[in-house]
């Protein structure tokens, strides 16, 4: 995963709250391998009628080149399916702005280079009113600039460093192999019951 510091692109509004992961990608698409691309399935049932035809008024269909999505509270609540993030990333999104995010969704986003930018509810409303618009997102400064407005977003330090560095956790953790092995052996010695009883 490549790290990044700033992003410029078009922001569009999806003025809904509780956009859950079942809406972001319905379960029936989850058996597809990632290599097939998930972008087309993003918000599938909201974007398309029962006959599969796209609703031209839906923001994603009206502005297909957008890379920043602005939504209302509790975006990405629901399941742990990382496919919800794959769908956003494969559809070209790099930033989602909302007053709050599902915890697991936010973690999954950061693991895929997608920024979950948490912005005050009031500010989000002003951004929604101003969209669609060109925006600049500065990860290190923690700001989103849209026209005249610059607003701050919240992000944990751990998420920020990871997005900027494009860290791959498995590589980082494998460097800790000795500490992990020592911990394991200490735990096994002190709490042997923590290992599942062998089945005879």
């Amino acid at each position: 995963m490549a790290g990044w510091r700033t992003h410029q692109g078009q922001a569009i509004a999806l003025p809904l709250e509780n956009v859950d992961t079942d809406q972001l990608i319905p379960a029936r698409f989850m058996s597809i391998p990632r290599s097939a691309g998930y972008g087309d399935h993003l918000l599938h049932d909201l974007r398309r009628g029962p006959d599969g035809a796209q609703n031209p008024q839906f923001p994603l269909n009206r502005w297909p080149g957008a890379s920043v999505l602005i939504a209302r509270r509790n975006f990405g609540c629901g399941s742990s399916r990382e496919a919800a993030v794959y769908a956003l990333v494969d559809a070209g999104f790099q930033v989602v702005i909302a007053p709050s995010f599902g915890d697991i969704f936010a973690g999954n986003s950061v693991n895929n280079g997608l920024l979950p930018a948490q912005v005050d509810e009031e500010r989000v409303e002003t951004l929604i009113a101003a969209a669609p618009a060109e925006v600049t997102v500065d990860l290190a400064a923690g700001t989103v600039t849209l026209g005249e407005q610059t607003v701050a977003f919240a992000l944990t330090e751990a998420a920020r460093t990871k997005l900027i560095n494009g860290w791959d956790d498995i590589d980082l953790t494998r460097a800790e192999a000795e500490a992990i092995a020592a911990f394991r052996n200490r735990r096994l010695g002190a709490h042997p019951w923590a290992w599942p009883r062998a089945q005879g």
Partner: protein
């Protein structure tokens, strides 16, 4: 004097290998549960040519795509492939697989506690948001995404920033006909689906201590619907008894040592939580959802909200939800006709859930069709021993096998567009049970009552003289 600690503090410290300057902790994972949906994680592992680090701590379960009717032949090639991929990955890495034909097969969050894989004091992860369920036994358990699944497979560890702590205290006695599901829907409707976001919830108080392990599992299961990735209850004698003689649980001298360790897993008297919420059991009535988010829930005696009278922030979402659900504002919730019922899922398909539903259904006929899918093959066997299966089938409901089934609609079972389902599951999201499906979440007793009358009904009326 030592600094008083919460249960969360104790569990976290016991698993922390180290903490980075940016606040992320590297945590040791005692149990990793995988299912068909973990295929992305295995694919990431294979792409790097890595092996599962601790196959003895990794358990594979077929549940999300498991057929619950005929298992002899799976017609849909995608479903067959999802199950085969898990079987292949389990075989390739030497993992214990609870496959379709295993006598202990079941939904991962039912199977874990039942097998004694879930224990107090363990750190458990699974690529599924309802992993919070296992906290009911005093474990630190949370759902993870596919990148994290690959990481756990490769290293048996996970990076996490410690959540804030929150205590939900419930005092008093639940009335007959009211159960753990109602406690959960009640607090989520009051605090919102992001009410506990960023927090680990510890449930405490008399009402919680009076719950069986099954009830606690239901409550912790639903924590994620209130935004909390973690839910937990301090383990007590009820849990210790429950774990006796479970296949993977410790025995003999190891059990003695375990009991000693588990006894310390309580929040110290003066420990301070980042947040506290209190509820009185006497205020909790059988609760049902009316909308498309678990927070859109009300007591069965209430009337549907009128969006015109809601604050501006809530009105739009309520209007859209009522529209999707095909409901009119201001009408009583009770009496809403349903097309079908579903009794199942990791929330409410344990033996106690089936018993409660059967108490309502015994000697009665269902007016609408419905599926009863026990949480595991062992629950199914137990229910048959108790004759519960006959109560369901004599009522006209279908007695199926164990799996996620209609909770998520991955195994081919779905609710048809526009149809209304009274469901013991945990998510009423748009399209969760199938595109256009209308889901009302409620307890097993309420599902049974809806089956009997063909409409949303107060189960207490049908339980008179029975409980």
């Amino acid at each position: 004097m030592k600094h008083p600690k919460t249960l969360l503090d104790k569990l976290w410290t016991a698993h922390e290998i180290r903490r980075r300057a940016d606040g992320a902790s590297l945590l040791w994972v005692d149990r990793h549960l995988v299912h068909e949906g973990s295929h992305h994680g295995f694919a990431k592992l294979a792409a790097r040519g890595l092996r599962v680090a601790e196959p003895d701590l990794t358990f594979a379960v077929v549940d999300h795509y498991a057929p619950v009717r005929d298992r002899s032949h799976i017609a849909d090639p995608d479903i067959a492939r999802m199950i085969r991929t898990l079987e292949d990955n389990a075989a390739a890495h030497g993992l214990r697989l609870f496959g379709l034909r295993d006598p202990a097969q079941g939904i991962v969050h039912v199977l874990g506690p039942e097998q004694g894989l879930t224990l107090p004091g363990l750190l458990m992860v699974c690529g599924d948001s309802h992993t919070s369920t296992h906290g009911a036994l005093g474990a630190l358990a949370f759902g993870i995404g596919a990148t994290e699944v690959a990481h756990v497979l490769a290293t048996q560890t996970v990076w996490q920033v410690k959540p804030r702590s929150m205590r939900i205290t419930v005092e008093g006695r639940l009335a007959p006909g009211v159960s753990a599901k109602d406690i959960a829907l009640n607090w989520i409707s009051r605090l919102g689906t992001d009410g506990a976001r960023g927090h680990a919830v510890e449930y405490a108080g008399r009402t919680i201590r009076d719950l069986t392990v099954e009830g606690r599992l239901t409550l912790c299961n639903l924590s994620i619907e209130g935004g909390a990735r973690f839910g937990m209850v301090a383990p007590d004698a009820v849990v210790m008894d429950y774990l006796q003689d479970r296949p993977y649980a410790p025995v003999g001298a190891e059990r003695d040592r375990a009991l000693e360790d588990w006894g310390r897993l309580i929040t110290d008297a003066d420990a301070v939580f980042d947040r506290e919420a209190r509820f009185d059991a006497a205020d909790i009535a059988p609760t049902v959802t009316w909308g498309t988010s678990p927070e859109q829930a009300l007591p069965i005696g209430a009337t549907l909200p009128d969006p015109d009278r809601l604050p501006a922030g809530k009105a739009g979402a309520a209007r859209a939800a009522l529209d999707y659900m095909g409901l009119s504002p201001g009408r009583p919730i009770a009496g809403t006709p349903v097309d079908q019922v579903f009794l199942g899922s990791c929330t409410n398909a344990r033996i106690e859930d089936l018993r409660m539903a059967a108490a309502v259904l015994a000697g009665r006929r269902a007016r609408v069709p419905g599926l009863v899918s026990p949480g595991s093959a062992l629950v199914r066997a137990q229910a048959e021993q108790e004759g519960l299966d006959r109560v369901f089938t004599e009522a006209g409901l279908e007695w199926a096998q164990a799996g996620c089934s209609l909770c998520v609609g991955m195994n081919g079972e779905t609710v048809a567009p526009g149809k209304r389902c009274a469901s013991s599951t945990n998510r009423n999201f748009r399209g969760r049970q199938g595109r256009g499906a209308r889901t009302h979440l409620m307890s097993p007793m309420m599902v049974a009552a809806a089956a009997v009358t063909g409409e949303l009904t107060d189960a207490r009326d049908l339980l008179k003289g029975r409980m």
